[in-house]
């Protein structure tokens, strides 16, 4: 290990300065991916810059505009917030599915994005919630849609020295709900073989007026699937429509076979999960808790 420096700046400006030297400088949020990768020899940073003492990275605000979530806010802070769980149940579930209770004390939605795993649970849920990513760099700030953040397995749109500061989830329209499901062989502690996020808006008569469907672990990045959403919009979410959304998701998937599952399996099950997640989102609108 060539790690020779650790710093924990207390302002964003200091952090950007510390990270400016190139890829050997790595930002640290919860560390539940980075420290494992260092341990397994997959990454070899020289300088780790801990972002958890920077207010913007650890702030959480929920108001009429929606949720603004610092990129390093740990999962446990989000998932134990009942108001967030009520408004964004699918996103909350997705974040809560990452790792163990112990990992929840550290992992973050921002970190999940930046790790850029195709199987990241948060990402489909962020995408269906139309989340935007606020990025800061020495050259200024910018925003990117969640679906455009990740560019491939392990890669994302951040330039060297840039920091993902926060995520913003707009307040959902009335009669809107989301859901996220994943397939893992055990009940916990696994990486998703398949993930599916759905957000739906229904009118008063139960007709779907808006939908977003995103799928995970079936392509190099999480995919927004407009075709699956189109299969739902304008319907009453009858069984056929749900199935059609599933078929559209299976059709959009470009999975690989690896140690966690086969491409055939992923393609098939992603359709099942989209169908089931859509049914859950619908029931959340019809029977709000």
């Amino acid at each position: 290990m060539s790690l020779v420096q650790y710093s924990a700046p207390s302002t964003l400006a200091e952090a950007l300065q510390a990270l400016a030297g190139g890829a050997a400088n790595r930002p640290l949020a919860g560390g539940t991916d980075l420290l494992v990768q260092v341990k397994l020899g997959l990454r070899d940073p020289q300088h780790i810059v801990d972002l958890k003492r920077i207010p913007e990275l650890t702030a959480l605000t929920l108001d009429d505009n929606g949720l603004r979530l610092g990129a390093a806010v740990p999962g446990a802070i989000v998932t134990t917030n009942r108001e967030i769980a009520r408004i964004y149940p699918g996103f909350t579930e997705a974040l809560g599915l990452i790792g163990s209770s112990q990992v929840q004390g550290r992992c973050s939605a921002g970190g999940n994005l930046c790790n850029a795993s195709p199987a990241a649970d948060c990402v489909p849920a962020l995408i269906v919630n139309r989340a935007t990513c606020h990025i800061a760099g020495l050259g200024g700030e910018r925003t990117v849609a969640a679906e455009d953040f990740t560019t491939g397995p392990g890669t994302h749109c951040l330039e060297d020295g840039e920091i993902l500061v926060s995520l913003e989830l707009p307040r959902p329209a009335p009669r809107t709900a989301d859901a996220y499901l994943r397939m893992i062989p055990r009940t916990e502690m696994d990486i998703a073989i398949v993930g599916a996020g759905v957000a739906l808006t229904l009118d008063e008569s139960g007709v779907c007026t808006d939908a977003r469907v995103a799928i995970g672990a079936v392509a190099p990045t999480a995919l927004l699937v407009p075709g699956a959403a189109a299969a739902l919009i304008g319907t009453t979410l009858d069984e056929d429509s749900l199935r059609n959304a599933g078929y559209a998701a299976s059709g959009a998937a470009v999975p690989i076979t690896d140690k966690r599952g086969t491409a055939d399996y992923r393609r098939k099950v992603v359709g099942v999960l989209v169908r089931r997640a859509a049914a859950i989102a619908r029931s959340r609108i019809e029977q709000p808790t």
């Binding site: 650790y6 924990a8 640290l28 560390g31 420290l35 494992v36 446990a76 112990q102």
Partner: protein, 161 residues
């Protein structure tokens, strides 16, 4: 080889001020065990998958193998060594003994720390809630049955007390 400067860390462990020097890449479980000689915190994987190294960091349950030791600066760490107080076992510890909830015992400190965090948040968990909360605490000996019973019994004991 680049010369590695050690980092001086001032922290609080189980309510007591502690200081140590660590390497930048050293994780908290290693520092607790080898710098502070608190070996109750166990290391089963060092990748956050087994939970044997569970501690609280500023009241958050974490795997101390996934925390850099340097991150403990100015923060509060609570370990297994601080669970029994005044020569008395915590109800979770006592119920694990009564229920034979340990065989080899290597996972036990992590189970105790994690279960205590659960009961402080949720004093009346269901069996399912205990099982999901402890999903990150691998035990290869018991099949979990007696651990779950012990935690439920401890919850009941604490509520009754």
């Amino acid at each position: 080889m680049m010369q590695v400067r050690k980092i001086h860390v001032s922290t609080t462990v189980n309510g007591e001020p502690r200081e140590f020097l660590c390497e930048p890449g050293q994780v908290l479980s290693d520092a607790l065990r080898n710098n502070l000689e608190m070996t109750g915190t166990k290391e089963g994987c060092t990748t956050g998958d087994c939970g044997a190294c569970s501690v609280l960091l500023d009241d958050a349950l974490v795997c101390s193998c996934l925390v850099l030791a340097a991150e403990a600066e100015g923060r509060r760490v609570a370990t297994i060594e601080g669970v029994a107080q005044d020569g008395r076992l915590h109800p979770i510890q006592q119920q694990l003994l009564e229920h034979a909830g340990l065989q080899c015992g290597i996972c036990t400190p992590g189970v105790v720390v994690a279960a205590k965090a659960l009961l402080e948040e949720n004093p009346d968990p269901s069996e399912e809630e205990v099982r999901f909360w402890l999903a990150g605490n691998l035990c290869r000996c018991t099949g979990y049955d007696k651990i779950i019973l012990a935690v439920l019994a401890a919850a009941s004991e604490i509520r009754g007390a």
